[in-house]
Symmetry: D3
Subunit: 244 residues, 6 copies
């Protein structure tokens, strides 16, 4: 069985803003890393304008200082979770889909050659940077598969894309089809969340969400030992040989 | 890991008519049986009125003889696939949802205590026996979970329900989220399909469909060795610890 | 080309209440009849309890008198439109789906052997008699197709089912895919509508709707000569040899 | 402005099982009652078989004793919330939609003549008692509107129906369109939840949910003073004169 | 209660073409203005190419003259309705989403700081200028909320966005959840519509639509005094303390 | 009856890549051409990077040689099918929506003045070149209708747009509402498919699909003589005077 078939090859997380991957997929990152998988986090922006309200309340704050603080926080959080991290710094609120950005994401996908890509869901009426990131990932994935694109690197296969949970899932047509048991790494996720000082108000929210998804995991047939989970929605069908 | 978590406990297939399980889930049945799992097929009817046109063309045919022929065919097909089979004979076209039928299905669910239930999809405008069977399964599964129902038997857990593929999937809102590799047992499925003499015209159709789903399985990241697949749509989210 | 392929064989309209067919499909009925097609209207109930508020305001009104008035109105409206009409009188608000009712509808379908069936849409949260009628039609159609059902009559083919427009289409997930030009028979529809005295407030509403759908027909590529149209949503795909 | 237009007339809550109204609409009940509105809770069953697992673990438990315990709990909870309560005791898991049940619900609707009805959402694949209750409410509401039904009581108007939140909203296609601020009565809801001893494990779950919906209420423009909310999805459009 | 909570603060209408706001939201505009609310209409284009067929039929017409005529008509209509109006003149058919356009819309949103934004629905296969305008509004609203955007102006809150009715609502997945009573200002809407000479054929269409939505408003529980209404679909959940 | 009303005027097929029109609409093309209709195929790209894997396996292959081979194949296939063909060569994987491309497509639409446009469906998560092509067609069609666009050519009417079948229809929300009988021209489609050497593995797949759709056409009421069909989903409602 290949790495891809087990889902245990490299994992690529594409995050619109510097902190999204922590709140929404920190458990998946820590779990994969704890098993020795490479986890690469690609942040398109620092979320410097739109998701750093805590920092902007400080007197004399500048865009560069916000970016620096966010880079520092996200880097430390990634480290705690066991992932490597890369920032494209293309500017947020709004994120813009340029040719250069598509090329960067495509190149990263080819370089990492992930068994799984994790990113934002297809719809988010509250945050169009999120839905645009989804589109950028799908488009870049398609290009990365093309035999005729950049003949100096290798085309990837048909990598699964997991959508992580948006802040208000029902308004985003988000319907989980995978409840990932993150009980064993949840403490690490909490530690990472606490690092994200610019959005400290979200730690309790996402801790409660971890419990909520954990309860639902048990309700959907998981073992009672599950205490925390993260919800994902796959874009493509699973191929397998088990009736799960 | 429990039998349920691997999907390798008993499998219960609830089929509206005697042959549905062969066309639509014969591969899943054969695959599970080949691994030593118990597979129990529960046919609510013989499909004697609505799905036996070949038999009705024979002179002097009667309802009883049709039923007998269908029972014989389905029993032999089940045997080839490695499954046990049970017929409720409640009458088809239309199937009727009586209290007695709910009770029977609930009792079978409790008795088999399946790790997975396989049945028809929720919608089928061509065939309301199919959609009604889906509802009967969901309702009976709910009752089988109830602590206060029939205190002489044990409540089941939150068993996953897989919907198998209807004849015209797009018209039934059927969106596969599991492409099951049945390459290794496909010959057995063909053998079983050939037994279903009353609907011989469907063998080629479902053989082609097996190839089609197999090609799609490879297109969705499965190994190139896959030649045949069956498509399923899960009702509930998967609980797991893999990023698949 | 067969009658079925032209849509010009018999037309069966199944109406939950005595007047539904007039408001929602009166143009289709008149148009078909004007071409010499048999049009058979099957009213499951008179709408005596739920759709006869005008009559109930009259002093001393009784259920039997309401029914009689509705039978009279609907019969005269059908005559104006060129259709024959049949009443099952099974009771409205709520309509109940009994075995006897399924049998009646199935028998009528077999007897008429329609090229097209017209009925209510699948969803109507305001009026569950309507959605239940849809289900009764689909289920009865399925039984009427079964080789083994009632061997004294002939199975029908795969008849198209057209859903006519509900009162509040957006709330019923009604999306028209056929705008039928009824300009040439609209006067006849108005005449029929005026007969339905128990719901006289609806004449203006459905006259305006005819204009509205007519404007939209032109907006969707129809000739500018269209002044009035009725909207329908087909249940099944059209089979044809034209790229329309 | 009429009572109906302000939503401040009587409130009718139709609950499949004895406790559903507490977990899912306890805040709405307490809020309405605190303003002097009549709140009537109609429990179709006690949830005696399917939602009383805590009781069934006690030795020597019987169906009657479970029902009695549930009746007691639910009655006390209703009292804490400020509502009156009525039990139909028609049997759960499965709930059955009999003519008598429709008649009872219709009669209650006419008697209460509610400005708002609150009940389960239209879909719940985990619990078909819930989705059936939704259908029973819509059908009974339709009958209660009919001029010709039970001439000894008065037809109701076009009452709004609010769906309260199911346990796993995304799997039930539940999309909130009303986040109700229940901050001022949340303590009362907690008190009521604590009474429901048979399902004590749910208190924390629904307390967290109250906070979660409260955070979202603020995120959707509500004042920062909101600490707790309940989510509802209306069935019908709101009619009003405010651009909200 | 804040202006936002009552929906009675400033209203911003973003209209793809010069006349859209008149046909689709003229009643809402007039109603708000009549209560003393500031209503600001932002027209991205004049609809000079695509929605001025009446003008293009005149001999010797030029793009500039069409624009001038449309500016004049729309300005007079806005005045009749009680609104102020602003034209961005960025070119229609197709509208193009440039950075400059996003910046303009964002700046206007911040400047007006609306309690409610009204614009086109998310989908319109007939008119992609309309759906693009929706996207521009959502994206600009998001940017206008960002703490780090343009530190010289103030971030807005989580303003509700109302989608007004497209020409063919069912084809646009438009499902009204607010029927706004515009009876008291309908005469003013008619007056404004009559000013839009370039599309005179639409006056009757939208007058009939006002009646139609008015009838439906009564059907959904509104007082019988309602004669005309406009339909809207909110993007975000309502936050409130009433069970409406 | 006009050419448009019969669907027998010119047909325009807009294909993202050079071969899409062959696999997915080759039968429709051949059928229309066989009746003497003009069929114009507009290929936005050659599919040189993303859909020419066979060619890229050859040693020393270059982008120009791939394009040349694809141009040659597609031109020969179009000729076999009876269509004229035009290549815009704007670059694939990813296709980019530039102003120049919109202008080109709009100009072609005006020049051909098609009775029917055929193109990709609105959604394809596997291939965003496909979904972008859909958007380009809808937007260009809208511009081509505008009275004020390019006054040197004539505005088109409200042309129907047919979406042809994507590779994995269920994942693309593709629901056929037209099953086109292509039995009489299927041999010609096979001949054309065989020319597409760069994707030879698809011939069997699309031959099987033709049979599958043919079986379904019969199942949906088509004559038993149908052996092969193609599936399409219309974007707009059909306007007509037949109850089909």
């Amino acid at each position: 069985m290949t790495a891809s078939a087990t889902g245990r090859g490299p994992v690529l997380v594409v995050s619109a803003h510097a902190a999204d991957f922590v709140w929404r997929a920190g458990g998946a990152v820590a779990l994969s890393a704890s098993r020795g998988q490479q986890v690469h986090v690609l942040c398109l922006t620092f979320g410097e304008k739109g998701e750093s309200q805590g920092l902007w309340k400080q007197p004399g704050m500048t865009l560069e200082r916000v970016k620096e603080a966010r880079r520092d926080e996200a880097s430390r959080a990634a480290k705690v979770l066991g992932a490597e991290i890369e920032f494209l710094d293309v500017g947020d609120y709004p994120l813009r889909a340029t040719d250069a950005l598509y090329d960067s994401v495509t190149a990263t996908i080819r370089r990492i050659n992930p068994a799984t890509i994790i990113t934002h869901p297809v719809k988010d009426p509250y945050n169009l940077d999120h839905s645009l990131t989804h589109e950028i990932v799908l488009r870049s994935r398609m290009v990365a598969q093309a035999a005729g694109h950049d003949r100096s690197s290798q085309p990837i296969g048909a990598t699964q894309v997991l959508q992580f949970e948006p802040h208000q899932p029902e308004q985003c047509d988000f319907v989980p089809n995978l409840l990932l048991d993150i009980s064993e790494v949840f403490e690490r996720k909490v530690e990472a969340m606490r690092i994200m000082g610019a959005q400290g108000h979200l730690v309790a929210y996402y801790t409660d969400l971890g419990v909520r998804r954990g309860v639902q995991a048990v309700r959907n047939g998981g073992p009672r030992s599950i205490t925390h989970a993260e919800a994902f929605q796959r874009v493509f069908p699973v191929v397998g040989s088990e009736l799960l």
